[in-house]
Amino acid sequence: MKFPSLFTSGRASLGAIALMGFAALPAYAQDAAEPAAEAAAGDPAFIFNTLLFLMGGFLVMWMAAGFAMLEAGMVRSKNVSMQLLKNIALYSIAGLMYWAVGYSLMYVNVNGYFGTFWPYSWPAAGTANEGDYAVASDWFFQMVFVATAASIVSGTLAERIKLWPFLVFVVVLTGFIYPIAGSWQWGGGWLSEMGFSDFAGSTLVHSVGGWAALAGALLLGARTDKYGPKGQVQPIPGSNMALATLGTFILWLGWFGFNGASQLAMGTNSDVSDVSRIFANTNLAAAGGVIAALILTQIVYKKVDITFVLNGALAGLVSITAEPLMPSPFMAIVIGAIGGVIVVFTVPLLDKLKIDDVVGAIPVHLIAGIWGTIAVPLTNPDTSFGVQFIGIVAYGVFTFVVSLVVWMIIKAVIGLRVSAEEELSGLDVAEVGVEAYPEFIASRVR
């Protein structure tokens, strides 16, 4: 009996050496389990590093679900299907665009400001590249990052942007804006030359997403009735706190991949120890963000607003993302806690500016992202506040301006916003055609 080779069937089995639960079997297959001939013995470091990317990659991929749930919970029930749809679509677009052009633009042959315009591919099946890890695993890991940036935009602009204009922007963001900006630092471009430091992307991922969202929010305007005639804020509570909390926990889990695998290696004792440090610090910062928001809302508002606490967790995570390795546990907590404080104070601030950010993505990702990037020199002696500042400004200006232009073009060509009537009836009826909760009578007052 010959077992199918790996390529033919994808299966082999050690059934032949199986030990039976109750009795020995009369005969075993004799010739089973000839191990597929290995061209060369594996290099553990190569495998460990690749595994780190794969594990980190699937954890960050899972964050796509986290954003989807968080946003579905923070919008009104009449817009839930739309928000879900946007999230699964943007993740898919990010995956395709980052293959079609993004990865090469960010990492291949970067001239200081951008790389190469070409689809990216990997070694043939059955072969491995030289180097420290399999490039396909790196592509996978980098790809899920770009999806994260796009998710941020989706949350801010919820409940009033049309589907297709949003998706067009996602194409540009994930195929061009993010990769070009990313090449400056992670692609080895000018900012990295200068000594800018952003370990896992407080600025490169989170602030970039936040700036793109801000540009969109300014152009799109607030949801109808979000701000009253006398300028007062009229809160629009999210429809499902259970989903919002689930989304936050998913993001928290995914962040271990986001920060941990940004170590980029675990083939040595010190690398895997660093990954461990990063896991611990990431968790401590998130916890710091939660507890800060918890205590602060109790003091300021006399009740604990769960949405602030959820935002606090995420702001803690974003804050530590620029430097999850160097801080001591205590510093990690402090950095995260300041993220939580930022949320509680900047969410109302944005409202005062009449910038309507449905899920609080700008405070969480942009402002806490800036904080996290600024805070790097506090614990990393190889960095300087000056260069960090230059990096933050460079990313801000580039992303904001380009995004604004792209949003303006889209607005001019196909329009951005649903009609007032469609906004009222809900985007699910207007654009998706399938209500999220068709059987439940929702309070349709707003």
């Binding site: 804020v233 009229q234 809160p235 508002y301 009740k303 607003d305 949405t307 602030f308 969410v347 409202d351």
Partner: protein
């Protein structure tokens, strides 16, 4: 025949149903509603902004009864639903011309 409609506090529903059952009432219909009244709602803060929740959850109980039962029914509801606190609700009574039991086609008092 009379039609008695009561707006009560939700947690009083069971007590009201029992009181009516004791009176021999065999059927009633219940609707979840929201009430606005002297009992003020509360102010909530969501993401740092205050807003008034002016509508409070209430339950509407509707019973069609023979005219001479009406007063007893009103009284029974009023007693069972009372907490003495603001927001206990209201009872309204109006006359109906006709009642039909769909299953049998019986009408008026027989239909109740």
């Amino acid at each position: 025949m009379k039609f008695v409609m009561a707006i009560i506090k939700p947690f009083k529903l069971e007590a009201v149903r029992e009181a009516l059952t004791e009176l021999g009432i065999q059927g009633l219909t219940v609707t979840e509603v929201k009430g606005f009244g002297r009992q003020k709602g509360h102010t909530e803060i969501y993401r740092g902004a205050e807003y008034a929740v002016s509508f409070l959850p209430k339950v509407k109980v509707e019973v069609a009864v023979d005219s001479d039962m009406a007063d007893k029914v009103v009284e029974a509801i009023a007693t069972a639903a009372k907490t003495g606190q603001i927001g206990d609700g209201k009872i309204f009574v109006h006359s109906i011309d006709k009642a039909v039991r769909i299953r049998t086609g019986e009408t008026d008092t027989d239909a109740l």
